[in-house]
């Protein structure tokens, strides 16, 4: 009996070990597996995208903007301000939504306001280089902008990543005409995130090398991204802010028109 048990053990030990065959997956299971992993991958990719756009870009833009504000203050000190005779331009009425402006240039006499005996002068500064921080925008009603946000020259993507961008074809803030500024709504610091809360009468301040100019909101409109009339010249001194609309979409543009109510050139332009 004992011998039989030993022999049985030996036989079992000598038998080749066989692996349990894994069940073959059906085509359906494989397809479901591929779809599942693809969905997980796509979901992670999109979550990463949202995290990148809403937080990573804002983190870097806010850091960059602090440096740009310091750069703007330096620019104020270094920039030469001069006075030139004031010739009003674009005396046409401001257009209604969707309208257009004839930007054929000055329509009044080509001489300083007040006649040849009594010319008026405005303060001007040189055109900043592309990407240069040259002004600070402050909107007390909007938390994000209540401490100021640097404005850089240019509205290319690279320039708008760090600050609000000034359209180079429009006058500089604080000067006569329509100075237009674009800014992100939801990414890259989103300086214009809550621009829609501005209503007629709210104030916007812009500090440049000339000093602080204060504008008062007159109108807010929503237009298509191709409606360039909003940046065209206007009589007086205006500030036009443009941003994407609605939030998380670049389908339309939210535009805020504000008119100068105070500043180094106010008396000359409106006096």
């Amino acid at each position: 009996m004992g011998n039989l048990a030993v022999m049985s053990d030996t036989v079992q030990r000598d038998l080749p070990r066989t692996r349990t065959p894994t069940p073959k997956r059906s085509v359906f299971t494989r397809i479901v597996r591929v779809i599942g992993w693809t969905s997980i991958g796509l979901g992670l990719f999109l979550l990463g995208f949202l995290f990148h756009q809403l937080f990573v870009t804002t983190f870097f833009a806010q850091r960059a903007n602090v440096a740009l504000e310091a750069e703007a203050v330096e620019y104020f000190e270094e920039t030469e301000v001069s006075q030139v005779p004031y010739v009003p331009t674009g005396v046409q009425e401001a257009p209604a939504e969707g309208g257009s402006i004839d930007s054929s240039g000055p329509t009044g006499p080509d001489q300083p306001v007040g006649g040849p005996d009594e010319p008026k002068f405005i303060f001007i500064e040189g055109q900043p280089d592309r990407g240069q921080a040259f002004a600070i925008l402050t909107i007390p009603k909007i938390d994000r902008l209540s401490d100021g946000w640097a404005i850089v020259e240019g509205v290319a993507r690279s320039q708008l990543k760090t600050g609000a961008g000034h359209y180079p074809t429009t006058p500089l803030p604080g000067q006569p005409g329509n100075s237009a500024i674009a800014g992100h709504r939801t990414t890259y610091g989103a300086p214009f995130h809550n621009l829609e809360i501005l209503v007629a009468g709210d104030t916007i301040e812009v500090e440049t090398a000339l000093g602080v100019s204060i504008y008062e909101v007159r109108e807010t409109v929503i237009v298509r991204p191709t409606e360039i009339w909003v940046t065209q010249d206007r009589p007086g001194a205006w500030l036009t802010l443009t941003t994407c609309h609605p939030k998380l979409s670049s389908r339309q543009r939210l535009v805020v028109f504000a008119e100068m109510v105070s500043g180094p050139n106010y008396e000359t332009i409106y006096g």
């Binding site: 995208f49 990148h52 993507r157 800014g183 237009v223 191709t226 909003v230 940046t231």
Partner: protein, 48 residues
């Protein structure tokens, strides 16, 4: 992941260096793709 790492050529040091390079390149590429896609979320608000 471990299998992919072990399948990289060369000794362990080379594998580690290659893995770091691949991760950095992938992150840079991902950043560019996200940046391009972000244009649809918020193009900067400029007109024209």
């Amino acid at each position: 992941m471990k299998r992919a790492f072990l399948s990289l050529p060369g000794p362990m040091v080379v594998k580690v260096i290659l893995a770091i390079i691949i991760v950095v390149v992938a992150l840079i590429a991902l950043n560019y793709i996200y940046d391009w896609m972000g244009n649809f979320l918020d193009s900067g608000g400029n007109i024209g």
